[in-house]
């Protein structure tokens, strides 16, 4: 039996889940209201437990490369809540300053690289960060990143996993198999029993987990992160869940099989986590209700703040893609 998680971990993870959900709900409302959010809106709904469990299991000096449905993991890892609202509204004070938006944000110098859209391409970047730490004699770090089951079909994903295995990097790759990549069911995406079966082909350890359960996710990630930190090489963790939203908020997800929705996979991981916390005596009803209220209030507050902040101004924008100013061309293009 693995050691029971210390009491504060599931509690903190759950609070991150609640806040992520509240942020999602809020941004979805703004999106539906129209005119307040430009571009797409991508929710984490259904993935909060899996995501938060990884984020909370990492240590502050670790590296965490989140993807599109990792708001809970970001918060659990310690990324400021305001980054979320500021990026969605394009605040000039946000980490992306309106240059990039929605879920594309990060703080590379604080161990959180900012994903680009091309699926799979983040994994090797996290490898490089880990490589650099080891190269400079910094030990004891783990790097983690997340991807959907659809993203595992990319060449970039394969190259990075293989490289991590060859370099024996302390990498944890979390695959959130939420059954669909946009509208495409996993049966059109891969043909193996479980994506964790890929681990052996890289010479890494594979873990399968019921990602609807926070407790199971916490336990599995603890094992994976510990193994990576102990020098056992990269770890592949595959979680089973269901996306409880459209691909983006423009999508009604009518293609999702009702049988899946009605199955245990379709249960809301927030409901499950609440039950788990209660059952384990880790929190009481009223405390949990208080957290939920606090999360909603915080979500509202960070959007209010971000919306009041100055939008980016094209006239003060540098329009320079590189830092070496003397080599910039097209000053007035």
């Amino acid at each position: 039996m693995p050691p029971a998680p210390e009491p504060e971990r599931p509690r903190a993870a759950y609070r991150a889940m609640l806040l992520a959900r509240a942020l999602d709900d809020h941004v979805a409302r703004l999106y539906r209201a129209g005119g307040q959010i430009v571009g797409g809106v991508y929710l984490s709904r259904g993935q909060e437990a899996f995501s938060a469990a990884l984020g909370i299991t990492l240590q502050p000096n670790d590296i965490y490369g989140p993807l599109i449905r990792d708001t809970a993991g970001r918060l659990a890892f310690g990324q400021p809540v305001l980054d979320f609202s500021r990026t969605y509204v394009g605040s000039s004070l946000g980490p992306m300053r309106g240059r990039d938006g929605n879920v594309h944000h990060g703080r590379p110098k604080e161990g959180i690289p900012a994903m680009i859209s091309h699926l799979g391409s983040l994994v090797s970047v996290v490898c490089g960060m880990l490589f650099a730490r080891r190269f400079q004699g910094i030990t004891g770090c783990v790097g983690a990143t997340c991807i959907g089951e659809g993203g595992t079909s990319t060449g970039a994903f394969h190259e990075a996993l293989n490289l991590a295995a060859v370099e024996r990097l302390p990498l944890v790759v979390a695959v959130a198999n939420n059954q669909y990549a946009y509208s495409t069911h996993q049966s059109r995406q891969f043909h193996c029993r479980n994506l964790a079966d890929r681990a052996v082909g890289y010479g890494m350890s594979g873990h399968e987990v019921n990602a609807v359960s926070l407790m199971d996710s916490l336990e599995t990630f603890q094992r994976a992160v510990d193994a990576a930190r102990a020098g056992e090489g990269p770890q592949l963790v595959v979680g089973a869940l269901l996306r409880l939203a459209g691909h983006g908020e423009h999508d009604d997800a009518s293609y999702v099989d009702p049988v899946l929705r009605a199955s245990p996979l379709g249960r809301d991981c927030l409901t499950v986590a609440r039950e788990e916390l209660l059952a384990a005596g880790l929190a009481g009803e009223s405390e949990l209700d208080g957290w939920t209220q606090a999360a909603r209030a915080e979500a509202e507050q960070v959007f209010l703040q971000a919306q009041r902040e100055p939008a980016p101004d094209p006239r003060s924008e540098t329009w320079q893609a590189i830092s070496s100013q003397h080599l910039c061309e097209f000053p007035h293009s």
Partner: protein, 321 residues
């Protein structure tokens, strides 16, 4: 005005699937979902087994299309966004585009690239990649600016024995509409004089044609008649039509939505300078997007890409030279 640009692309694909049993469509979510932009809506049901969801594997998607083309099929590959073709680019440039020259076996694949900027789409869902694909030998690169051209150029592209990059503009998908799809049209390879004028020529393609037309309206109110040339294909470029226009107007502005280094505008201007220098009454100008990634925030985005306003501005500069 009931048929939008995206519907023309869907209609062309429906017709191709109906008329040619060798045509199939392959791309992420193009099956029963009908594609991220609904360009294949209903087609999977109409043509079972011929409109197929692909895994997120752009390299293999293009590779599969090339293999199928070798065996005589006519694949249409839909990239979900043009931007993601960067990871299928090697198969396009080095496999598809070299096949005919190396082996004598032609490679009739059409790769549809939902391209160009729209508000809030940011650096990775807004790109215009025609410069990359046109630079390498072996491809035809088409860029329809009108609903009619989207329809007829897609029909022609798939009929062509060579690999075609089909640059379709997301901004035009729903904005642009027409009454009826054309029975015949200018052939692929010919540019169109969309608006005739006297004082200057604007050469543009895709969404920028409409920005140029609107700039021409503005300049008309200021007393200038601007000729607008719609390239329709950027490889080949119909140099003759451009030169003939510049011969009439003596002034050239070339407008593109892509990044400013190289690309269509550089190719057009350098051809005109090389073959029609004596036609020019003043220096030829260019207007492109800025040399940064495409910004997410609308404030920045509207300044990043050329607009009717910035084209008007540049035209006034041109006319004052």
């Amino acid at each position: 005005m009931s048929i939008p640009y995206i519907a023309a692309i869907r209609a062309a694909q429906e017709r191709l699937l109906r008329e040619n049993p060798k045509v199939f469509v392959y791309g992420q979510d193009v099956g029963s979902f009908g594609g991220a932009f609904k360009a294949t809506k209903g087609l999977a049901e109409l043509f079972p087994g011929r409109v197929l969801d692909a895994p997120i594997s752009e390299d293999a998607m293009v590779g599969l299309a090339i293999g199928a083309a070798i065996e005589g099929l006519r694949p249409i590959v839909e990239m979900q966004f043009a931007d993601f073709s960067s990871v299928g680019l090697n198969q396009i440039l080095n496999q598809a585009a070299t096949l005919y020259w190396r082996t004598g076996v032609s490679c009739p694949i059409t790769v549809r690239l939902p391209s160009g900027g729209t508000e809030g789409s940011g650096p990775f869902h807004s790109q215009s990649m025609e410069a990359l694909y046109s630079h390498y030998p072996g491809l035809v690169v088409v860029a329809p600016a009108t609903v009619e051209d989207a329809y007829s150029l897609l029909l022609e592209s798939v009929a062509l024995d060579d690999p075609v990059i089909f640059y379709e503009h997301k901004f035009l998908y729903y904005h642009l509409k027409t009454d009826a799809l054309p029975e015949s049209n200018l052939p692929l390879g010919k540019a169109r004089i969309t608006r005739s004028g006297l004082h200057a020529t604007v050469v543009a393609y895709s969404a920028m044609v409409h920005e140029a037309l609107s700039a021409a309206d503005t300049l008309h109110d200021e007393g200038y008649e601007i000729e607008v040339v719609d390239l329709r294909s950027v490889k080949p470029i119909d140099t003759d039509t451009i030169l003939a226009s510049v011969a009439r107007t003596g002034r050239l502005l070339c407008v593109g939505e892509a990044f400013p280094w190289g690309g269509v505008t550089a190719e057009v201007v350098s051809r005109v300078a090389g073959e029609g220098l004596n036609l020019l009454d003043c220096p030829p100008l260019r207007l492109n997007a800025k040399d940064t990634p495409i910004p997410f925030h609308p404030n920045l985005w509207r300044t990043h890409r050329p607009t009717a306003e910035s084209i008007s501005h540049r035209l006034r500069e041109l006319l004052s030279l």
